[in-house]
Symmetry: C2
């Protein structure tokens, strides 16, 4: 199938097939009327039978957007070099300031356009169909959440994409082009792949040690006691050091990508779906929605926490019950009281109930999280992650805990762990990368088949012609009323087009599935990390399995992003957020579980045959406490930010402060020269101008 590249489009909004023509028209009018600097074109995708709005904007708006988003850009060598926050006033000092396509990456253009789209706010008492907007609410995100808009997607840049397909997806044994990835898919996704690569490399150590231990112990078909203890210990130390190292590495990456200095939370725009009463923000003096913290906390501690606890209790109970039934059935089968096929019944029941519970729990978690009404996107996401992790933890590890501590069967634990590590991950890769790709191919093939059989290139349906005429006439009316300087950008002749038999890029990408989030990808790694550090002393090859899987995982995740899913919007993050905390908690849990495993498996008894049970437990508990204390000491002693970055930050702060003071005195001197006033009067100006500035800023945002 041929693909026609879609040009002059940064962001595409598509509607479901069932969408009303009025809705599309209403939205188009809203954009044209209230966000005039956005250039919108409308098209009907004849092949997929959906409406699409194509957005782009002019260079001036892009530059202003770059300033508002605080993008960090390179400064020309003659102006001091290095990187600085872009400002329109200082435009000339930045590299490539005359070529917007080299100044801004496609990801940055798209983020700017997206934020302009989100800035379409509802007027008082405005409605769309049966949806009532609150005053000032962001229209597009709400319509998207209600399903009236199907997708808001950025369009791929074919040159950069094909570079990534070649240099990233196909180059199996090479380092990932992390900077390019972050540039193209945004820093959040870049950070994920940086983490994945770093974790995979770090896995080499336990992989090698695991192979050695397996080789030594393998001959006797059971792992030597002392080796078991040593390996458990090595695992714990490795997990601590690895996490500390990643924290430092992640700061370095964030520094390079310009997100280490996160903006103050209270200065970040609230997320579009944030609800609350309109008040004046005491920080910026802008009018904003505000939801009091005590309401959120009340809900969290008196609704969220109990509901989550009960839900987890139910999951725990159901799973435990099924495990017990399984054991009971196994016993009966071994005694011949039950036919052997019955042993599959609990397995089926488990699979079914986990599916149902997972679904129900997810809905509850999302509902609770929405009700908590967090102000910022990343708070919202982090709290959802915490809730979802808890379920996945129970789901993924309960069976192993059950085998390890209730049945105390180390052989079965080893088998189960191997089965989980291998099957779960292979299935996971197929499910997340291959399946959507195949589905997408089939879908496109069907569309292509329908196109060639149903419609010949020259026959347009009557309905479509009518629509075309209606819209073109309206567009032209509008153009007549516009100011001349905007005309050049609008290109009315191409404003409504009919996509022909070969599919346009936009049409193909809109038919792809949406890449939801990095959540599933991180979750997979989190669970895998758990398998490796919690139980790998029972199965020394766990790290090897994980390592092999991850080598494939990197490329299959890359494949997913480049081939299978819609391009995602870039997000700026400082680090991997909640996942860091989750991994730390896992690493602490690993100490406890490993000590318990050592105590439980009778190994310690064989090592110290003279010890009674009580002494043994006390010994194990003491060991655990000492290891935990060492762990915390280590984390305390290693600085989270490498010295060179601390130094860079200090240098910038020093320059900034110096520059500010110099500027201030300069303004003062100049004004006193200009006006012959005493300097006293002019001292006031910074504060006065501050207010002016904040007003100007506020005006920008309301547009």
């Amino acid at each position: 199938m041929n693909q026609i590249p879609t040009k002059e489009c940064d962001v595409l909004i598509t509607f479901p097939k069932s969408a009303q023509e009025e809705t599309v028209k209403w939205l188009l009018q809203c954009f044209r009327g209230r966000v005039p600097e956005l250039i919108v074109r409308v098209r009907y995708h004849n092949n997929t039978k959906i409406w699409g709005l194509y957005f782009t904007t002019n260079n001036r708006s892009l530059l202003r957007g770059a300033e508002i988003h605080g993008l960090i850009k390179e400064v020309k060598v003659e102006f001091g070099g290095g990187k600085r926050e872009f400002t329109v006033d200082e435009k000339e000092i930045f590299l490539h300031n005359d070529d917007i396509d080299r100044l801004l990456t496609s990801e940055e253009r798209q983020c700017i356009v997206r934020s302009m789209i989100d800035n379409l706010r509802a007027l008082k008492n405005e409605t769309c169909g049966n949806i009532k907007f609150l005053q000032g609410q962001a229209i597009v995100p709400l319509l998207e959440s209600k399903g009236i808009i199907q997708h808001v997607l950025p369009i791929h840049d074919s040159k950069d994409l094909s570079f990534l397909k070649n240099a990233w997806v196909k180059k199996f044994w090479k380092n990932q082009p992390l900077n390019k990835i972050a540039e193209y898919f945004g820093i959040k996704i870049g950070m994920y792949f940086a983490y994945l690569g770093h974790y995979t490399k770090a896995l080499l150590l336990p992989t090698i040690i695991g192979i050695i231990i397996w080789a030594i112990a393998g001959k006797e078909q059971k792992i030597d006691d002392l080796l078991f203890v040593i390996f458990a210990f090595i695992n714990v130390v490795w997990s601590t050091l690895y996490l500390e190292h990643w924290k430092r590495r992640s700061s370095e990456i964030a520094y390079e990508w310009g997100t280490l200095d996160k903006e103050d939370d209270l200065l970040v725009e609230p997320r579009p779906l944030y609800k609350g009463n309109l008040i004046q923000n005491p920080v910026t003096n802008r009018t904003e929605r505000h939801y009091p913290a005590w309401k959120r906390n009340l809900f969290r501690y008196f609704v969220t926490v109990p509901v989550i606890c009960i839900s987890l209790g139910v999951v725990f109970g159901v799973m435990l019950l099924i495990f017990m039934v399984q054991d009971w059935i196994n016993l009966k089968i071994s005694k011949g009281f039950l036919p052997s096929f019955t042993k599959f019944l609990p397995k089926v029941a488990l699979a079914l109930s986990i599916g149902i519970l997972d679904n129900a729990y997810k809905k509850i978690a999302v509902w609770l999280n929405n009700k908590e009404n967090h102000r910022l996107d990343d708070e919202h996401e982090n709290h959802l992650i915490i809730k979802l992790i808890l379920f996945q933890f129970v789901n993924s590890f309960l069976s192993l805990f059950y085998i390890a501590f209730y049945l105390q069967d180390m052989n079965r634990l080893r088998e189960q762990l191997a089965a989980l590590l291998i099957t779960r991950q292979v299935i996971g890769n197929i499910k997340e990368a291959l399946l959507p790709y195949v589905k997408n191919r089939i879908k496109l093939f069907r569309i292509g088949y329908e196109m060639t059989s149903d419609i010949s290139p020259n026959t347009l349906t009557k309905q479509a012609t009518e629509i075309k005429e209606k819209i073109v006439s309206r567009v032209e009316t509008e153009i007549r009323h516009r100011k001349p300087e905007k005309l050049e950008n609008v290109k009315p002749e191409s404003s409504v087009e009919y996509s022909g038999p070969t599919l346009s890029q936009a049409e193909i990408e809109a038919s792809m599935e949406k890449y939801e989030d990095t959540f599933e990808d991180y979750l997979e790694m989190f669970i895998q990390f758990g398998y490796v550090v919690l139980f790998s002393s029972a199965f020394p090859l766990a790290a090897l399995c994980a390592f092999l899987n991850n080598v494939i995982e990197i490329r299959s995740d890359a494949f997913k992003l480049c081939h299978t899913f819609q391009r995602p919007f870039g997000q700026r993050v400082q680090n991997i957020g909640t996942w860091q905390d989750a991994l730390e908690v896992m690493s602490v849990t690993a100490v406890i579980i490993n000590c318990a495993l050592i105590g439980n498996s009778g190994l310690a008894h064989r090592l110290f045959p003279n010890f009674g049970t009580t002494e043994m437990i006390v010994l194990i508990v003491a060991l655990e406490h000492i290891i935990l204390a060492c762990k915390f000491l280590l984390a305390y002693a290693i600085p989270d930010i490498p010295h060179w970055i601390a130094q860079e930050k200090a240098r910038l702060e020093f320059l900034r402060r110096g520059a500010f003071k110099t500027l201030e005195s300069k303004v003062q001197n100049q004004s006193s020269i200009d006006h012959g006033n005493s300097p006293v009067h002019n001292q006031d100006s910074p504060l006065e101008n501050c207010d002016k500035y904040s007003k100007r800023y506020a005006e920008k945002d309301i547009q």
Copy 2:
């Protein structure tokens, strides 16, 4: 004895009686030659037979010092109000800018003068007696550390001091005037008293609960089992919540006192005794000493850690041995094999050995810490605190651990705890406040006695007359060579004076002992906190004892500062530093110890009679893990900084950013108007000026 107030003196340097006249003269010449803006007078204290240098400075230097120190000052209402960093250029907008005595507190003046004194740096190959200086080394701190200078002390302000004596030392049941304290003694000491007051108030809760539990349990002469467990639990929860609350309160205080936003570590001046090679600071481009971090770390991990561990091991061993000998002797006495006076032998041995070990350990710790050569004053101090705490922990708690877990004698634990809490604290208060006061009185009395008997007001010794003449003539020669504007401040007629029969304020204060640091005061509270949270379930009235002690402690510490010791220099701190961490560690230890006490005391056995030892231990360990998990969750969930402060900080950041951008565009516009240049050229100026600024700054520091 009459006291003549010493005027026109902020800081006083005194020499020991053995000081050479040449040294004094050399130092005086150094100051007059290299730090001309310092106004120095020399006096011979005839009564105490010591030389003194009296320092003050002119208003211009004070203002510049206020800018360099980044002092936060109130802005006049007509210029926007609030507080801002003081700058000389903007002087006019600040409240009281025309009256230096109201603009700067005496503590701030003294800090500025002190830093000017410390800025007297050695030239290449300079020597003083047998001391060789490194180039650029701070002369006064080195001479002080070598004992050639006896004291560098700021002089009391009699008005403010008498206010504090009345409103703070004497007002037993009133709140402390914390702002005044911080203003007069500096923020570090203010923070200590804020902490002490907050802790004392927080103690009310366990005090009341402890009294109730004691009242209920008292009748049966043994504490009811369940109450014991409940009280242990309450203690742990209380300690966590109290520490979290203090963290927030401390941020509030620091915000009010303007130290919450600590300056970047790398921008702070290194401490005067910091050693290293001269390199160019990559941050500020100033030439500074630098000591590589790897050298420090190497020393820390391969010398400090082993030495400290061995030392603590020795202390541990010696104490344990003495305890065991004590028990052995007690046994023998009870059987009649030994005379009963022998039971005092181990006690004496313990007291002696602790004294010796304490001394030796302190010397080792200080030596190790100096060798680690930390760059900043507060790093230096924090690392010393950690080292010293470890010893004090063993010293203070080993006997209790021994009784609780080795002897398992709860009654003896209770007695020991009560004895420690009451005697240790009463003795402590006497030792630290009363004793130095009495000593000081006796010393002054003796001087007074000698004065009235030996010397009549009109007889000056021949030697003193000669000195006076020599110096006066030199001062006058110098004055003749000075610029006229400085003459008015020097007042040659009073430049050398003879203190008469009534002692001058400076003479009295120089004869007082130096207030070393808040270390001893914090240490006392730290150990007390340990007694309360670690073992109070064994002795419910521990909190009451602590509370009563602290009510007295606040005033006796206040008395100490106002009456007994020399005035200390103020220090700017952000929080209580390492002590916060130490208290947190103590609180975690409390969970472990309390759980162990419950498990050990047989209480749990009586509560769950059906449980075997193994089940019991597992139960206790599980309980401990759950409590610890809750503790960490709680600490994670409660934000360290109250919301209103986060908001204030965000607001300032917003204003700052706005002001900077406005200024920048203003400079640009004005320059382009003035010179008719394209704006491109002027973009360069902030960076260019930056360099100029940093050079200017560097010049200031070298003076």
